[in-house]
């Protein structure tokens, strides 16, 4: 079939992308927002117990994740990384499965709170709740990449609140010493739950600290998707060339409360909240693509309809999946079973096969005495 290719728009050409790339990026930003909004609706409807949101971060996350190579490079995400995970291979269904914590949730099989996304298939590392711990894992992944000469790049992202943890200092120092293929992304939304940056940082930017490690520190407007892409692309190229790590700080906004258990009007001024939407990457990117002639009304409507159908289907699927079976709750402490580990006196719950675990140890001294 003959395909006529039109020349890329000036916007796409300015960063070496095609218009289709830009549309795919836009679709991912919009999908992340739609998934996130669905999470809040489900929470307020009593369907899921907890939401931690990425709204306001999506543009930066998609722009920054885009230059990395899926299934080769690695990302150690954080709890606002919904758009990052979508850009790196996870689906809307994968994200919603984590909200419902179902048995087939690909992040943790329902073991972790929502927001703790990770998936081996996509080189997205499982994360924990103690913030900034993932910093060192990404540095270690980059170290292994260098030693194994695999050509991989490792990126981790976190908030500016997390950036104050000691692991960030230890990791940046080590990554810089060994010129590791590593990128630290700080998504600075101005708040660590309720604490503003004025009480977190003595410098204006987190990126100012990069100089102390002898590495480049870049500040980028997180509502400018293309600028985020450009900054990340340069950092990826530097990493792959063996020139070491980069710290990218994206100034983003937090459109929601910290979580579904937080009331942000207590600590954020009304006028600040009212002004937030003017810094939102989603409408800005949409307008930019329209102006560049990349996005027309029909395409926009088609993408919106596709996203709605995808999120609806993902919700329905997640609702219908089974909860994890308690008989699996002692699995995967280790790669293999350890029969000497003691199950609780109340057993392993529904579906537990008696032959599988019960015979391992006498349940009481009296039973043992009969042997």
């Amino acid at each position: 079939m003959a395909v006529t290719r039109k020349a890329p728009s000036k916007l796409a050409a300015s960063v070496g992308l095609t218009d289709d790339d830009l549309l795919a990026m836009y679709r991912t930003v919009a999908l992340a927002r739609a998934v996130d909004e669905r999470m809040w609706i489900l929470n307020r409807a009593g369907r899921i117990p907890f939401v931690i949101s990425g709204q306001g971060h999506e543009g930066a996350e998609v722009g920054i994740a885009w230059p990395l190579e899926r299934k080769k490079d690695w990302i150690a995400p954080f709890y606002r990384s919904i758009a990052t995970c979508l850009a790196f291979g996870m689906t809307a269904q994968d994200i919603l499965m984590a909200q419902y914590a179902k048995a087939t949730d690909p992040s943790s099989g329902g073991r972790q709170m929502p927001g703790h996304y990770g998936n081996a298939e996509n080189n997205l590392l499982s994360l924990s709740s103690p913030v900034a711990t993932q910093m060192l894992h990404a540095v270690g992944i980059a170290l292994a990449a260098k030693i194994r000469k695999s050509g991989q790049v490792a990126l981790t992202s976190m908030g500016e609140g997390s950036s104050n943890q000691g692991d960030v200092h230890e990791g940046l120092n080590f990554a810089a010493i060994h010129k590791l293929p590593f990128i630290l992304v700080v998504e600075n939304n101005g708040y660590a739950i309720s604490v503003p940056t004025s009480k977190q940082l003595a410098t204006e930017n987190v990126a100012d600290r990069a100089a102390g490690y002898g590495i480049p520190g870049v500040v980028v407007d997180g509502s400018d998707v293309v600028a985020c892409y450009r900054a990340s692309k340069e950092a990826v190229e530097r990493a792959r060339a063996g020139d070491g790590p980069t710290l990218i700080e994206a100034k983003v906004i937090r459109l929601t409360a910290h979580s579904s258990d937080d009331q942000q009007t207590k600590y954020r001024p009304e006028e600040e909240l009212a002004d937030l939407k003017s810094h939102d990457a989603l409408p800005r990117f949409r307008a930019e693509l329209r102006d560049a002639g990349v996005l027309d009304e029909a395409t926009e409507a088609r993408i919106a309809a596709e996203i709605k159908a995808e999120v609806d289907a993902a919700t329905d699927h997640s609702e219908s999946e089974p909860d994890p079976d308690p008989s699996t709750a002692m699995r995967w402490v280790f790669a293999e079973d350890w029969p000497s580990e003691t199950p609780p006196s109340w057993g392993l719950g529904g579906g537990h096969s008696e032959t599988e675990h019960a015979a391992e140890e006498p349940r009481s001294a009296a039973e043992g005495a009969k042997d």
Partner: protein, 327 residues
């Protein structure tokens, strides 16, 4: 078969495993050109170079956290913590990350990493170069904790630890590095994790110990044997997962159980062993499940009189055996 010191067995195992498997690397403070403060890694840097024997900054959390990441991306790191006393900056990485990675990802990710650390007192190391830290780590599901007592076991267990697909803490009593010698066969062998050894058969009292205390328990067993008390010594070798079968089998036979550990008494590892024995061998007991262990002060004091007061030795164990034997 050759007679080797404890540290020679460790060093040989590291070198042999690095030769066998390119994915094995060593990271830690002074592990490179110096070969470690105890020389456990002596010669590795010369043989394997900068890429695989990495001198790190003084950053224990980074040593462990980076090893976790490297393990996830295809390596088998051996992280050395210079003294077990300095492991606590890495506690969060060990507890929240290494131990929980496989469980929290529903088997998506594993951490094949070994953390080696010298522990223990009796070496004029005072509060911060003498600690026994095993109880902090045996508490955590997801970690394997190994404390060998002989060069043979050190080699076989370290090899098993390095090849294991989950995180292993491998504690080496620093007083044993050069004072303990033993036969180590030529060639490759492993000692399985999770298996204790009966190192002295007996009939009247079971003494459960590990590390340096396993040696002291043997000496104590010989002392009380002259008094007509028959002691069975169980060397745990792996603290977690614990070999309940060997422990309970021995106690069910002897009817008495004395647990020996060098760490502070309260909440020490031996307290869990006591609980297991009390719960699962109660009907067989002819005396209280007892402990001989370090006193509850915040550390081993430096002065030699004070240090001797702190440390468990064969005489203190023999006294504990005599008290239990009288029941």
């Amino acid at each position: 078969m050759a007679l080797k010191t404890f540290i020679e067995a460790i060093r040989e195992t590291l070198a042999e495993e690095m030769r066998r498997d390119d994915s094995v690397i060593v990271m830690g403070e002074d592990v490179g050109v110096k070969g470690g403060v105890f020389l456990a890694t002596d010669g590795l840097w010369t043989e394997f170079g900068d890429d695989r024997v990495i001198d790190t900054p003084l950053t224990e959390s980074m040593i462990v956290g980076t090893s976790i990441g490297a393990a996830i991306n295809g390596l088998r790191p051996i992280a050395e913590i210079q003294f077990a006393d300095f492991i606590f900056p890495a506690f969060n990485q060990i507890l929240s990350e290494a131990a929980r990675m496989r469980y929290r990802s529903n088997n998506g990710f594993g951490v094949p990493m070994t953390i080696r650390a010298p522990y223990g007192g009796g070496v004029h190391g005072a509060l911060y170069h003498s600690q026994s830290v095993e109880a902090f780590f045996t508490h955590i599901p997801g970690l394997k904790v190994v404390i060998p007592s002989t060069p043979y076991d050190a080699k076989g267990l370290l090899r098993s630890s390095i090849r294991d697909d989950d995180p292993v803490l491998f504690f080496e009593h620093k007083k044993m590095y050069r004072s303990v010698r033993g036969d180590v066969p030529d060639g490759e062998y492993t000692v399985p994790l999770g298996k204790a050894a009966v190192t002295h058969p007996g009939t009247q009292i079971t003494v459960i110990a590990y590390g340096l205390m396993a040696h002291h328990a043997l000496e104590a067993a010989d002392v009380v044997a002259e008094e007509g008390i028959s002691v069975e010594v169980v060397d745990l070798r792996t603290l977690r997962p614990i070999d309940k079968e060997t422990v309970l089998g021995s106690v069910r036979k002897t009817g008495k159980c004395l647990i020996v550990y060098e760490d502070n008494r309260f909440g020490g590892y031996g307290a869990e062993v006591a609980a297991i024995v009390a719960e699962e061998a109660f009907d067989y007991l002819d005396g209280p499940v007892s402990r001989i262990c370090g006193p509850d002060v915040p550390g081993v004091p430096y002065n030699h009189v004070l240090e001797d007061w702190f440390m468990v030795n064969p005489e203190k164990i023999a006294d504990g055996i005599r008290v239990l034997a009288a029941y």
